[in-house]
Amino acid sequence: MLGRLLLGVLVVALLVAPLFVNQFANFVLSRMAIYTVVALGLNLLTGYSGQMSLGHGAFFAIGAYGTAIVANRLGLPWPLCILVGGLVAGFAGYLLGWPSLRLSGPYLAIATLALAIAVPQALLKFEGLTGGVQGLKLAQPRPPAGLGLAQDQWLAYICLVTAILMVWVTVNLVRGRVGRAFIALRDSEIAAQAVGVSLPRFKTLAFAVSAFYTGLAGGLLAYLLGYIAPDAFTLVVSIEFLTMVVIGGLASVAGSVIGAVLIVILPLVSSNLTDYLAALLNLVGLSAVGATTRGLIWAIYGVILILVMVFLPGGLISLYDKIAGFWAAKREGAVKRSAVPSPEVKGGG
């Protein structure tokens, strides 16, 4: 009950926040929402279905470009464009699902890696469609008249509402038949097949759904920025995505949200930390060194990643689990052991 109440409060707070914060904060909120949608999708594939993907940046790009192209050429309303972006990405995911039936582990990772590398290159090559290195511009959705919202607030709302909706969808998906099939797949493919889970059907479904989520998020990004270019969809993005679901916690909706929030915040935190480091070095008289610490942002980022994984290999959500488990154990109390004497058998029968 307490949990539900807190959740409700959180949702309300999120919905009210865009009205009170500045443009940059709304931009950050929007990005967190977008990344949450990606995290939910990727987690469905990696956490719940146990398939590794290093290629979700590709689906992100497909969704973004799909949305932009449809918006510019067909002039459809923006919700439809985003949906189209998601569907196209979902179809691409479905196609990728087929090789996944034969490959596993690092081999599957390479296959998805192929996609992550090929797509940005294809984006550059097929200029006629994608605008090549210049990218594409698209008109951002205008806030409806009479609501008195600014552009950044309206965009934030679109992203936040979509994210909340997808969280709700995911929670239900995971609890339902499909979710259970995914988990069965992850835990043991052979056992899953033995109870009638069709491997081809559900593996490709996992990829398709996961890609659909990511494509949707890509469409959102396209509208948020009003402009997309290939260099926003490099391999680094795919790695960011994987990092966030692992850091947040695999097979956990809450973990996906936490991971997404963290991955958006982390560069900002690292940036601040390097500033503190510079200030510290200034105090000690090493200001010349301090001036260059900005370059260490990614080193700090890396250290944080490692520390989180060393202390919480199950992701940040496991911290919550640990605390909850700790309280439960205290309630159970200690288990007493009884000493049993070993009976001896004397010779003679």
């Binding site: 049993v340 001896e344 029968g349």
Partner: protein
């Protein structure tokens, strides 16, 4: 030579051994019997240092060994032939045997010991350059025992040597175990095949759900009603 004092062990939250005490006198063969899951393999793993006990102590030659790493325990003279053979399948028979002597400090006696192993198990000499994974079950068991012998152990821990092997092969292996014992090596034998184990051992312990429920001279146990019913007639 070996003494376990009220040893308890667990895998995570699952209690595998409870208050187990047993003694293996020098020069003898002691059998550890029990059904699947009774804790026999766990006992051996505690002795060889693969698993740390949660309570109790293990003494080898009067010296406490339960906190030592496995390589130190091997160096003290305890060799463990694991359940399922566990040979290095991608290495040759020769390489497997050489690795058995890895922990030894006295390098010069190794070739002599290699000869000794080949004399005990002539088939290994034939298959010296073959990959261990291509050997038959019985040959792999011999290799596993031979590999353990390369460490010049004073105590040999044998985990289910008869598992999955044909009766003739098992007979051969037990004959060799007797021979190894006769040459001075103490043996702690874990076996599901209770009748064979009781034929070769002097003393036996029976484990059930992690506790010693019965122990005594092998002859007595062979006559014992409970043992006969549960373990000797199937």
């Amino acid at each position: 030579m070996l003494r376990l004092e009220r040893v308890s062990a667990a895998y995570g939250r699952i209690q595998a051994l409870r208050d187990v005490s047993l003694e293996v006198p020098a020069g003898s063969v002691v059998a550890l019997l029990g059904a699947n899951g009774a804790g026999k393999t766990t006992t051996l793993r505690v002795i060889s240092g693969l698993l740390r006990p949660t309570a109790g102590a293990v003494y080898f030659d009067g010296r406490r060994i339960d906190r030592l790493p496995p390589e130190a325990i091997v160096r003290l003279g305890v060799a463990h032939v694991p359940e399922g053979r566990q040979v290095f399948a991608d290495l040759t028979v020769g390489e497997n045997l050489i690795l058995g002597a890895y922990a030894r400090r006295d390098r010069r006696n190794i070739s002599a010991d290699l000869e000794r192993v080949f004399n005990l198990f002539p088939v290994l000499r034939e298959r010296r350059k073959q990959l261990a994974g291509t050997l038959s079950g019985g040959e792999q068991q011999m290799l596993a025992i031979g590999r353990a012998l390369m460490a010049r152990p004073r105590l040999l821990l044998l985990d289910e040597p008869s598992l999955g092997l044909a009766p003739m092969v098992v007979r051969e292996i037990f004959r060799t175990v007797r021979r190894i014992n006769a040459e001075g090596t103490t043996v702690l034998l874990v076996e599901q095949d209770a009748s064979r184990a009781l034929q070769v051992a002097q003393t036996a312990y029976v484990l059930q759900t992690g506790q010693v429920v019965l122990w005594g001279p092998a002859g007595a146990l062979r006559q014992n009603e409970a043992v006969r019913r549960s373990y000797l007639e199937y």
